[in-house]
Symmetry: D2
Subunit: 142 residues, 4 copies
């Protein structure tokens, strides 16, 4: 994939504390970037996460995958592309890709899978209709 495949790109700059003794971003910290990018995507949708939680449900992360393609270093300016992959009944799979700012070549790709969970029963519950609609609208360009 390339930058044009994402309607949302989250710009970030690598912090010193995110590097490790190899001089590159430590592998776990890519998941910080993915998490920030998903948060910003939902903000871009105009969807209200706090109102979602107030209904007694919450998204739990059930799977994360990172494929590391090229090292990322201190002070590098990067963009995290994020878009919904499969939207299941109760699950939502995010596709992620990190690029150098303004470039197409991927530094990393990955996915994060969320399951909407009823906080009382701890059981999966459908992805809310307003989120499905907001995603469809945003990805359709509007």
């Amino acid at each position: 994939m390339a930058r044009a495949d994402f309607r949302h790109l989250c710009p970030l700059r690598v912090r010193y504390g995110e590097t490790d003794a190899q001089g590159v971003v430590f592998n776990a910290n890519y998941l910080l970037y993915y998490d920030v990018a998903i948060t910003e995507y939902l903000r871009a949708l105009g969807w209200n996460y706090r109102a979602h939680i107030a209904t007694g449900v919450d998204f739990h992360t059930v799977r994360t995958v990172v494929d590391y393609k090229a090292p990322i270093r201190f002070d590098d300016e990067i963009e995290v592309g994020v878009r919904p992959g499969r939207v299941g009944n109760s699950s939502l799979t995010w596709a992620l890709e990190i690029h150098p700012s303004g470039e197409d070549r991927p530094l990393a790709t990955g996915e994060v899978v969320w399951v909407n969970t009823d906080q009382a029963s701890h059981r999966p519950t459908p992805v809310p209709a307003d989120l499905r609609a907001a995603i469809a609208r945003f990805e359709a360009g509007g």
Copy 2:
């Protein structure tokens, strides 16, 4: 101070993810070590933090200080000495010191100040008598 000045030493081994691109432990991560050491000190006292919180209060960290003396590197075995400094009416000051395992020379010193806080009023409230007693007993060698 030296190791013998602490009745409690918390052993730790530096994780790769705690280092930065200078090849040493990143400055913020010393506060992780201090936090773990205080947790283990309270466990050594046999004092029950969960029961404390259940009474509607909690300790808030109001000040942290770290003095960095010598670099700490990946895989280093260290000990964090911890002991209560001043125990005020509602505050509790922890004195901390990191040494290489089994050695006296300090790699870092510091302090962490806690204030016991009523969770309803958000106001300082006295350090509980059972914690004062447990500290006094432990530091007296018993």
Copy 3:
């Protein structure tokens, strides 16, 4: 899998700083645990990582996967089982699984894929024979 499927179990206790506002270990921090567990596995082998690096090569992480099965909370005592999965020509796939201390039910599973890389050419290079031998010996029970 269960605890008995791992010849190496790395014991850890959850640190407060590893939790998030949901009250559970933040998703990225599972990769910290996996990294520590692999480090301890290599130590258990008696294999010398520093001597490895001194030959002008290093392992790069090219893929990480975490499947989250049940929440992990502050102060929980856990064990991270680690064992080599596929050992390819230049790659080494680690299988990981987190359990509550002494219990069989998995809290998380996952994998970490390393590629041995020549630091001058940045190209994959074979997994060293001494590491293959050490792994084979350890997994055979010796």
Copy 4:
């Protein structure tokens, strides 16, 4: 102090992974914010950190202090004010203060002390004249 006391304010938004089980930013993570703010201050000066290191010296952090005034929560928009306090012969003391975005009340204050260090001898060495000049110019409004 207030916002107007800082010629440089670094805007940040709290990431979910920076919170802890109390629902607030974990104490160690304030030092991440301070570190980012100093990096951005030096960038605002137009001073070249990489060229500095290339001369065989580097700044080491020798002391950090954080005074926590009010909790900071997930998704909060904050500003980190940063300015040089005392500039000694080989040391540089940074004064820091966190505010809610656009507000004067401090959420935290603190300081970070750096010592310029010769990387060969490991001894303190004078703060370079070009950095002193750049700071003086910037703080004078130019």
